[in-house]
């Protein structure tokens, strides 16, 4: 199927200030997306609070707004510009969270703005810890035991009846770069990390989960198109084991220590994850823990958007993930997009490092 002609104007949300864990990669992905959408003949409305970005150079969008990335200002932009669609998956967690807010407060529906790339339900399935757990369980995938917690009292009760075993990991919902998360090695530590996590989460919710500290940490970059075809862009191995945040870890693409059998298992599971979460078009990042002793696999999380890892994967393979994600979002299929490096092969040719 060629590109969509029922949409003309697309709103793109940038990633705002460059902070730890949310670095210039989203400027890179945003620039790629703007270029593609303009080339394809769409009007691009860009909003980003950070003028120190390349994407906010005037030539990258039809109209550029340097405004706070908050519901109020962006709602006013939507009212003025009346875009047909919002592409929320290329501006990191900030853009994703803002798009969710605009969906939930009815702004998008009121103005007839369609979320493209990933819809509201898919973003929720990936980002809401409880929904993610349910989705993975239904897909037959193993994830570490976990519980969603909204008060410290729930933690006390679970410690008392043994539902929480130590060490345990704390992950706040809807935060970026692992902000507010940590590991509780002792009961005292756990209480402290949970308190901090609840404060850091915009919805005051954290996930307490089984520790897989010391397991190998692997990521797969996955892309899916509207025909439900999926390719793995590359595997990434965190040289530091689980317990060191990905943002602090040395990572290598492709994975270095996986046998073919184990790699193919991860590949199968990553494909199941993107289908189960329901990211319709575009890239996602799926993280796994692998027990080095017996090859046991657990799904850790998935980002239904372009992420820091996408930048590494793009550089390592020459497969421009953000650019492809933008093309897939407006209706192209993987097999219809030529690979930028080989030119002769379609984007459905799964990249292999050193194949060229």
């Amino acid at each position: 199927m060629p590109k969509r002609t029922d949409i003309e104007k697309i709103l793109l949300i940038g990633s705002g200030p460059i902070v730890i864990g949310q670095a210039a990669e989203f400027d890179y992905s945003g620039v790629q997306a703007c270029k593609v959408l303009l080339e394809e003949g769409y009007e691009v409305v860009l909003v980003n609070s950070n003028p120190a970005t390349i994407m906010t150079d005037p030539e990258f969008a039809t109209s550029t707004y340097i405004e706070p990335l908050l519901p109020g200002p962006v709602t006013r932009i939507i009212e003025k510009e009346q875009p047909d669609a919002l592409l929320p998956t290329l501006g990191g967690q900030t853009a994703l969270n803002l798009a969710m807010t605009l969906y939930e407060d009815g702004t998008l529906e009121k103005h007839g703005v369609e979320l493209i790339g990933a819809d509201h339900a898919a973003i929720r399935r990936a980002e809401d810890r409880e929904e993610f757990r349910q989705t993975m369980t239904e897909a037959g995938l193993r994830i570490p035991w976990s519980m969603t917690v909204e008060t410290l009292g729930e933690v006390e009760a679970a410690l008392a009846d043994g539902r929480i075993t130590l060490p345990a990991i704390v992950r706040p919902a809807f935060t970026m770069g692992g902000q507010g998360g940590g590991v509780g090695m002792t009961e005292t530590e756990l209480r402290q990390v949970v308190s901090e996590g609840l404060a850091a989460s915009p919805i005051n919710q954290v996930l307490v989960e089984e520790s897989v500290i010391g397991w190998g940490e692997f990521e797969l970059e996955v892309m899916r198109d509207h025909n439900d075809n999926v390719v793995i862009i590359c595997s990434i191995e965190n040289v530091d084991p689980m317990g060191v945040h990905t943002g602090d870890s040395v990572t290598v693409a492709p994975a270095q220590t996986l046998t073919d059998a184990l790699y193919q298992d991860l590949r199968d599971q990553a494909i199941k994850v993107i289908r189960a979460v329901g990211v319709e078009t575009g890239g996602s990042n799926v993280q796994f823990a692998v027990n080095p002793e017996n090859g046991e696999i657990a799904v850790i999380e998935m980002n239904p958007r372009v992420s820091r890892s996408s930048a590494l994967a793009s550089k390592a393979t020459g497969f421009p993930i953000a650019k492809m994600a933008a093309k897939l979002a407006v209706g192209y299929a993987l097999e219809e997009i030529p690979n930028d490096i080989t030119r002769a092969t379609p984007a459905s040719f799964e990249p292999t490092i050193d194949m060229w």
Binding site: E350, T352, I353
Partner: protein, 372 residues
């Protein structure tokens, strides 16, 4: 460490450090682009007579294990690598890769500029070559390479086929009788997982011997060499078409196609890797597939490429054939079905090992032929 070298038949020479078993060794030099699965590849009988150049730079990282054997022994003649590792210290490893190559008697060479080798082969086509230890005189190396028989017209299936039938009991599934031109163990595993009773016959078996096994479906296996050199297998298959349902994989696909009157040709440098997109034309589904073949089946009109994503048809000696699978990389034939007799084939490796599992569903459709 002393320098050895890889010499190609056109005189191109690439220096490196010998490892694995002691050389020299000669064979057809081909390249594989998969990033994992080196042990599976070397033990795949389809690589008989060949020296594999791995394009991925680090080979051996995770050692070797019994589970990664695709047959009982190594079949590749030699291995060329950029940066070989023994990998024996990885938790899942049962042994070191370089130690294993030495034990299997496979000469190898590391430190080779494998990118340069691949570019050379891509430009000039797969060719004969050899891995030689330091101190081998140029003239002697050239003579050895020149003495290596060409892959064109090579009957290598005879060197990997079993001497006697091999039988596996089933669990209620159909009886699959395979003409074993060098079957991979993962095909055996896939069929057995589906409850099939499996009988593997020497590739020299007659049609009567195949029929005497009372197959529900006849399977034509993968294997090494040139399908055009296997006239005796083609003759056997030709007798079976229409009498029993047939399915084939890789070499078996080529043999079945030749048996119904289609032609095969040698690809310039073959497909060997784990990332080839193949489109199933009936559904639009794209599977990322494992591939390992140097020859392919011609499309309608003798064309190597098929430009449209359509189930085009050919006339065969047994009625129409319809294209079922197409390679999106070079648009060559990846599979077809015969419309008037029960037969279907694919060029790629749905069993994987190594490679993606996307196409394993194909075994289910193949086995439905048993009910045809």
């Amino acid at each position: 460490m002393s320098e050895g070298f890889l010499l190609l038949e056109d005189g191109a020479r690439f220096d490196g450090i010998p490892c694995g078993a002691e050389g020299p060794v000669t064979g057809e030099v081909v390249f594989n682009t998969a990033m994992t699965g080196y042990q599976e590849s070397v033990t795949d009988p389809s690589y008989a007579g060949q020296i594999i150049v791995f394009t991925y730079p680090l080979i051996g990282n995770y050692g070797v294990s019994a589970a990664a054997m695709e047959s009982e022994r190594a079949h590749a003649r030699g291995v060329v690598m950029r940066d070989p590792k023994n990998g024996e210290d990885v938790a899942t490893a049962e042994g070191g890769w370089l130690d294993w190559l030495a034990d299997c008697g496979v000469p190898a060479i590391g430190g080779v500029d494998t990118r340069a080798v691949v570019r050379h082969i891509r430009d000039r086509g797969a060719m004969r070559g050899g891995i030689f230890p330091a101190g081998t005189a140029d003239g002697e190396a050239r003579e050895r390479v020149a003495a290596e028989p060409s892959m064109d017209g090579a009957d290598l299936a005879r060197t990997v086929t079993p001497a006697e039938p091999i039988r596996f009991e089933g669990e209620g599934g159909p009886h699959v009788v395979g003409i074993d031109t060098g079957i991979k163990l993962n095909i055996v595993r896939q069929l057995r997982e589906r409850g099939c009773k499996l009988t593997l016959l020497p590739c020299t078996s007659s049609p009567e011997q195949v029929l005497a096994e009372d197959p529900d479906v006849v399977f034509l296996a993968n294997g090494p060499g040139d399908p055009a050199a296997l006239g005796y297998v083609v003759d056997t298959v030709r007798e079976l078409v229409g009498q029993k349902p047939l399915f084939g994989i890789c070499l078996g696909h080529q043999l079945l196609c030749r048996a119904v009157g289609l032609e095969t040709f040698k690809l310039p440098f073959g497909h060997r890797g784990a990332n080839h997109p193949v489109k199933e034309l009936a559904t639009g589904r794209i599977d990322i597939t494992s591939q390992n073949h140097g020859f392919a089946v011609q499309g309608p009109g003798g064309e190597p490429r098929i430009e449209a994503d359509e189930p085009v048809r050919w006339q065969t000696d047994f009625g129409a054939a319809e294209l079922s699978h197409l390679n999106l990389y070079d648009r060559t034939v990846e599979g077809l079905v015969l419309k008037e007799v029960a037969a279907a084939t694919v060029q790629y490796h749905p069993e994987a090992g190594p490679g993606p599992h996307d196409a394993r569903h194909l075994f289910d459709s193949f086995l439905e032929l048993a009910n045809a």
